[in-house]
């Protein structure tokens, strides 16, 4: 029996997301490894014209309807279940993004399929698929295999470069009929973030703080360093949740993705949700007293000294360099 691979291509606000193209690239590898076909499910409003971007797929299931304009988990579950029935794939790859999060969690429960979460890589091993999953905030990894089909893999951003999956072409199109039906969870509207005083995506240097900063009182140190470097202060989720910084300064999954020339990570552990927002920074320097902190796997330079000692010393020395 052919072992097909199905990828959920999510669309948001008028386009296919990068996370989807990453999974198309990964799905292509898996389908080739299993000797099966790669199917992609493309759902949204006005998406039919985007099929040409999915040339890496053998076939694209297209559901194009106004009711699919915004992420609604009931409707996506019904749609995906319909395609799984038609395609009978070995596995379904879903981006573990905020857009597809609810689908990843609910679909397996609804159809009684296994879910393997937090996958950073998938490879074919002896006719099956092995997932490598990131657990415990990036401190452990587990390899996981599932015998049953279909299995749903929730895949973390960054598994493959998006550009590898963004291939022009004309895959076979299978148009789906979609009955909108009722929704117990109905989309109403988007609420845009209040514009911050600083646009952190436009900074060459970012000094980013996390739980390890220990308190709002120490934020002055980060501010002073950022000023010296001609940049701004931002933070990981705990720094925002504690109210130290506004939401407009949050880097990561629910926050903002940044690619500065310099990213200082101070007291940040480096959970996957944070890494996805900053891993493409040109130079990453991390200070964290925990030698096992996953941030050191993404950083170029690191120190396990106390940031409350390193940063003042750095400020003094940088002042000397600039002054002299």
């Amino acid at each position: 029996m052919a072992k097909n691979v199905l990828v959920m291509a999510e669309t948001w606000r008028g386009g296919i997301t990068d996370a989807s193209f990453e999974l198309v690239a990964l799905g292509r590898e898996l389908a080739d490894g299993l000797g099966g076909k790669l199917g992609v499910l493309l759902a949204g409003d006005g998406v039919s014209g985007m099929v040409g971007e999915l040339g890496a797929a053998d076939g694209v299931y297209v559901a194009d309807a106004p009711a699919l304009a915004d992420p609604e988990v009931d409707r996506s579950c019904r749609l995906v279940a319909q395609v799984l029935e038609m395609d009978q794939p070995q596995c379904l790859l879903v981006p573990l993004s905020n857009i597809s999060w609810d689908l990843t969690g609910l679909l397996p429960a609804r159809i009684g399929a296994p879910l393997v979460n937090f996958c950073r890589d998938l490879t074919t091993v002896g006719g099956g698929i092995e997932a490598t999953c990131v657990l415990y905030g990036g401190k452990m990894e587990a390899t996981v295999q599932v015998a049953a089909a279909p299995v749903v893999f929730g895949v973390l951003p960054g598994a493959r470069p998006a550009d590898s999956g963004r291939v022009a072409g004309s895959p076979e199109v299978k148009a789906l009929k979609f009955d909108a039906g009722d929704a117990t969870v109905a989309f109403l509207r988007y609420v845009e973030p209040e514009a911050g005083d600083v646009d952190i995506t436009q900074q060459d240097a970012l000094v980013s703080v996390g739980r390890g900063l220990q308190g709002e009182a120490n934020l002055d140190l980060a501010e002073e360093l950022a000023e010296l470097l001609g940049g701004a202060v931002c933070g990981s989720r705990p720094a925002i949740d504690q109210g130290w910084l506004p939401l407009s300064r949050q880097v990561g999954k629910s926050g903002i993705t940044v690619k500065p020339k310099l990213y200082f990570a101070l007291g940040i552990s480096g959970a996957p949700e944070h890494l996805e927002g900053m891993r493409d920074s040109e130079l990453i320097i991390a200070v964290n007293t925990d030698p096992d902190a996953p941030i050191f796997n993404a950083a170029h330079f690191g120190s396990t000294e106390d940031l409350l000692e390193v940063v003042p010393a750095l400020i003094d020395r940088a002042n000397e360099v600039k002054g002299g």
């Binding site: 948001w12 009931d74 993004s97 905020n98 609810d102 969690g105 609910l106 397996p108 429960a109 879910l115 393997v116 979460n117 999953c133 990131v134 657990l135 415990y136 905030g137 990036g138 401190k139 452990m140 587990a142 390899t143 599932v146 015998a147 049953a148 117990t184 969870v185 109905a186 989309f187 109403l188 988007y190 609420v191 973030p193 949740d241 504690q242 109210g243 407009s248 999954k253 629910s254 926050g255 903002i256 993705t257 310099l262 552990s269 959970a271 320097i285 050191f296 796997n297 950083a299 330079f301 690191g302 120190s303 396990t304 000692e309 390193v310 010393a313 750095l314 020395r317 940088a318 360099v321």
Partner: protein, 257 residues
């Protein structure tokens, strides 16, 4: 509103984690457990809702080391009841734990129906599922995850969930519903130890037996290991002064200072 909040313990990742002798799981000896961070936010959001709209908050947890402290803390923060489900295997996967909850909650006289069941949107060990959608499906209730705020309105709830870039999406959710909370509107409140001790003296944790759970799809962990990065950071040695000096050199070499 009648609100249930589900709390669960997870390893504190600030501590060093070790792989157990079987090579497939965490070594549970010496492991320090803390309440799952987003569960703590779910409790905070529940307490905020109670303050605004009245009603009751019941904290529910499966038996685990130190869970009594967590439940008494919830009571000290303002929860009305605390319920501990005893007798379930403490190494259950998330999907199995959700199965126990789904079987037990309806069996305990007066816990359900609740208008809302709130829990964290994820935990660091959610390898085979998230609790909120699994429970929602088992109870036949609507589900939304990554929730940032909840506002009851005409027998339904307007629920905001997080998208990327600080954008929120607002949804109308029929009640009762199960929500996975990402972050409460305010940081989880602090409660002094004295108040927790007072709760230990004046309040009680109700205990109920775990109901048998249904079978969940199986998966096989090949091995668990600490990640071995291809490109680990070059570690800067020496005291803070030496580290600062080296960082200055690195920045100067690249024209960043």
């Amino acid at each position: 509103m009648k609100i249930l909040v589900l709390l669960k313990m997870v390893p504190d990742v600030v501590e060093e984690l070790e792989v157990a002798a079987d090579g497939k799981s965490l070594d549970l000896d010496f492991l320090r457990l803390i309440v799952n961070e987003s569960d703590d936010h779910a409790l905070e959001e529940a307490l905020i809702l109670k303050e605004r709209h009245g009603g009751t908050v019941t904290a529910v947890a499966l038996e685990a080391p130190d869970i009594d402290d967590v439940l008494f803390t919830a009571l000290a923060k303002g929860a009305d009841r605390a319920v501990k489900i005893e007798g379930a295997d403490q190494t259950l996967s998330t999907r199995d734990a959700a199965g126990v909850l789904a079987a037990t909650l309806p069996a305990v006289g007066d816990l359900l129906p609740a208008d809302l069941i709130l829990t964290g949107c994820q935990a660091i060990d959610d390898l085979d599922g998230f609790v909120a959608p699994l429970l929602a499906q088992a109870l036949g209730q609507p589900y939304l995850g990554l929730v940032a705020r909840v506002a009851p309105e005409n027998g339904k709830a307007v629920v905001a969930k997080e998208f990327a870039g600080g954008v929120l999406g607002e949804y109308e959710v029929s009640l009762p519903a199960v929500l996975g909370v990402q972050g409460a509107e305010k940081p989880p409140r602090y409660v002094p130890v004295a108040k927790v001790r007072a709760a230990m003296k004046s309040a009680e944790i109700e205990t109920v037996p775990a109901a048998p759970r249904p079978d969940a799809p199986s998966y096989e962990i090949g091995e668990m290991l600490k990640p071995e990065p291809v490109d680990r950071a070059e570690m800067l040695e020496g005291d803070p002064e030496a580290v600062a000096a080296r960082i200055c050199e690195i920045l100067s070499e690249r024209g960043l200072l």
